[in-house]
Every structure is written in C-alpha cells, then in structure tokens.
C-alpha cells in the first residue's frame, strides 16, 4: 500500500542549521504553532550559543572562577550535560570549548565555510575534560566554572530545544522535528506506525556543504522517540594542511581519530540519542557497537570508514 503524508510543514534556520517541522493539525493551528517553535529556537539560541558574545553562555564562559547566577534554561541544559558527562565517564564533555577552538572551530560553521580556519593544534595542556570540576549551587541556581574552563553546549542544546518543541507540538497533534539532522518525533501520523525517516549515507564530497538530501542507508518509522547522527563527514576543515573536525577526544583535546564516519542512535529522548551518537563515534566501530549492543533501550546504525554499515539487533527490528 503506497501512501503519503499531507500535513503542514515549515523550514527555518536556527542554531547554525536548518530546522524542519511537521504537525498533523489544521493549517491555522499549525501556522501559529510553527511561529511559537521558531521563537523557541531563537530564544534558546540567544541564551545557549557560544558564537554570540552576548549570549548568557558566553557571559558565563567569560566569568570562569566566579559564581554566576543563571537562567532556568541554562541551568537545565547544563545540568543535563553534566549528567551525561558523568554517565559516559567524560566521553561526552561539555567543557571542550578551548580544545574545539584550538582545533579551528572558533566561529560558526557557516562562517568557517567561508574562510580558511586559522586554528592550531594544541601541543600542551588545554583546559578540557574538566566537567567534574564544574560546580552547581541549586539553592541559588548558580554555576562556577573552573578558572579558564569554558562550555560548549552545542549538540545537547539543539537536542534539548528540539525535544521542547516536540513536547509542545505534541499537545496539538502528531509531530516531527528535524533540527539539523537530529530528529525528534511525537505521536505517529494518523493510520501510520510512525514518521517515515531515513538514515543518510555520509557525504562523500566534503566541499558540498549543502542541505540537499543524501541517499539513505536505511529507513525506519519514528514515533515518540529521537534519532540523532554524529559524524565527521560534514563539519571538517583543514588546519596547517591537516584535516580537522568538530569531534574532540576529551582525553587528548584533539579531533578524535575514529574508524567511523557516522554514528546514528535511536533513543526515547533527544539528549540521550545525541550523546550516545557522539560517544559511539569516539569509541569507534568495535567498541561503539559492542557498547550499544549491551543497551536494549537504544538502537544504532554505524557507518565505518570502509563503507560498512553495522546495525545493532534493536535497529534491525526498526528498519522498514
């Protein structure tokens, strides 16, 4: 039986990427809801962006060593990031901003694509891997970063916002959010088992930084869950003639060396999908797949440098 989904949809840019929304509701309801979600992304970006010097995150990063009162949003996202840093033994590290900038990722990727990055690879100690030294005071909702340490909440902030958007849109009808390649779904569309979504094959042409859809390695139904991909196939640049990318190994402070090109993880919530995809990429094909196979609440598809596609058993069950 061939069928199609006909429901209101919209696209806009926020947080350095393209955001797509679908909401199965009447046009009037959907139009108003889309405006609210766009405002939500804009508001969260103003608070959580590391690229804007006026963002609350940048203000916090500029006051390391001091106690700083923070907003509810920054508190919630930072708390979630630190929980995941602990759960992954620091493999997911929100304190990697110094290392990321040292690797050349000092401006938004949109700006980076226009100019040659003038990064330098660190040769001595950098302030990263300090997540366990970040202090939180719940009674005052205050944060103290260790001296010199700065935060990057990029991926988890985007996932957090996408989840907020789906939580809101779900009160109006079945919905789907694609935040720069990270998907979060509410209820399935009427008469369907989920939203039909694909897992893209890695980009072969690194210079082709476009939003054009790539071919899919596999397809699945997504409902009330999230699907995130972390990869080194897109956000890459050259530093002194050497390839660099945005995925930092927190133990070395350098762009990670991995035999995976992309890691895609299905999870109940966006934050976990995002974190598990990133850490799987850092672990590499063998250890990443082994770890994910032990997590029955997750499903994953890993694409290795040799082009091989590796699936967990749970992912095999989800494929259309």
């Amino acid at each position: 039986m061939e069928t199609t989904i006909l429901c209101p949809t919209t696209t806009f840019r926020a947080m350095g990427c393209q955001i797509d929304l679908w909401l199965e509701a009447d046009e009037t309801t959907a139009t108003a809801a889309f405006v609210s979600v766009e405002n939500l992304f804009a508001k969260n970006e103003r608070i959580l962006s590391r690229f804007s010097p006026t963002s609350e995150l940048s203000q916090l990063n500029g006051r390391s060593g001091q106690w700083v009162l923070v907003s509810d949003l920054l508190w919630d996202v930072l708390e979630e990031a630190l929980i995941w840093a602990s759960a992954t033994d620091g493999l997911f590290d929100p304190t990697c901003l110094n290392a990321l900038e040292a690797a050349g990722y000092g401006v938004s990727f949109e700006a980076l694509a226009r100019v040659q990055a003038h990064g330098r690879f660190p040769s001595d100690h950098l302030l990263h891997g300090q997540w366990s030294a970040v202090q939180l005071d719940p009674s005052r909702q205050a944060v103290r970063l260790p001296e010199g340490v700065r935060l990057d909440l990029g991926g988890i902030a985007k996932g957090f916002t996408a989840q907020q958007a789906v939580d809101y849109l779900s009160t109006l009808g079945p919905c789907l959010v694609n935040a720069g390649g990270d998907l979060v779904a509410g209820d399935a569309p009427v008469d369907l088992p989920g939203w039909p979504v694909g897992v893209a094959l890695p980009s072969e042409d690194l210079a082709e930084a476009t939003a054009v859809a790539a071919d899919n390695a596999l397809s699945l139904w997504l409902a009330n869950a999230a699907l995130a991909t972390s990869g080194i196939d897109y956000r890459r640049w050259l530093v002194n003639g050497r390839a660099a990318h945005h995925l930092i190994n927190p133990y070395t402070g350098l762009p990670a060396e991995t035999d995976l090109i992309t890691a895609t993880v299905w999870a109940a919530q966006a934050a976990e999908a995002e974190v598990r995809a990133t850490t799987a990429l850092l672990l590499g094909q063998k250890d990443g797949l082994h770890f994910l196979q032990q997590q029955p609440h997750l499903a994953a598809a890993l694409i290795a440098a040799d082009g091989e596609l590796h699936l967990t058993h749970t992912m095999s069950n989800l494929i259309i």
Binding site: T3, N178, G180, L192, P196, P202, N216, I232
Partner: protein, 113 residues
C-alpha cells in the same frame, strides 16, 4: 472376624477412592467447560475433537492405597464411567496480516549541519 474387618475396611477405602476420583474428574470437567466458554467468548477458533468416554478403574493406584486394599475384592472390579464433554485441544488465533505500508522517507538524520 478378621476377614470381615478387612473386607469392611476395603469397602471403605474403595468408596473413598471412588469419591476422590469422581470429585477430581468433575472439577476437571467444570474447569474445562469454563475454559471452553472463555475461548468461545474471545472469538477464537477452537478445534472440536470427538467426545471421549473415560473408564476409570476403581482400583486405580493412589497414594492412599494399601497393599491389602489392592488385593482383588469385589469392589476393585467396579468401574466409574464418566461421559466428558469435548476438551478444547488448541486455540487457533485469528491472525490477519497487516497491510504493508510503503512510503518514502520525508526527512533524514545525518551529521549536524
């Protein structure tokens, strides 16, 4: 006297065994009929086997049986005949295969961009 006492005790044991066997089988019968009604209520297809007649020898060994009681008295030759309703053998679920829905993905997950 000794022979009469043994015979009376044998009769008592025999009656007890008949009562136990009859009661047990009646309970099984009632339970089976109840299950059969539930299956029918669930609209499942139930295989209907032939009715069976069980002949239960009264001297069927039980843990209560003594060596003396087991020896051939007139009572041990009696049989209890029960006509049992058909026992549902298997419930065959009514499985209908779901229609296969084919649809191209409307979006895709990929590296952040």
């Amino acid at each position: 006297m000794t022979t009469n006492n043994k015979s009376r005790r044998g009769q008592q044991f025999g009656s007890l065994k008949v009562a136990v066997a009859t009661g047990g089988l009646a309970a099984v019968l009632l339970g089976t009929q109840l299950l059969g009604r539930q299956e029918a209520a669930n609209n499942t297809a139930v295989a209907q086997p032939e009715a069976v007649v069980l002949n239960i020898p009264a001297n069927m060994p039980t843990t209560l049986q003594t060596n003396q009681a087991a020896s051939g008295s007139a009572l041990t030759q009696r049989q209890v005949t029960l006509d049992l309703a058909p026992i549902p053998q298997a419930a065959v679920p009514q499985i209908r295969s779901a229609p296969v829905i084919r649809m191209a993905p409307i979006t895709q997950t990929r590296s952040s961009r």
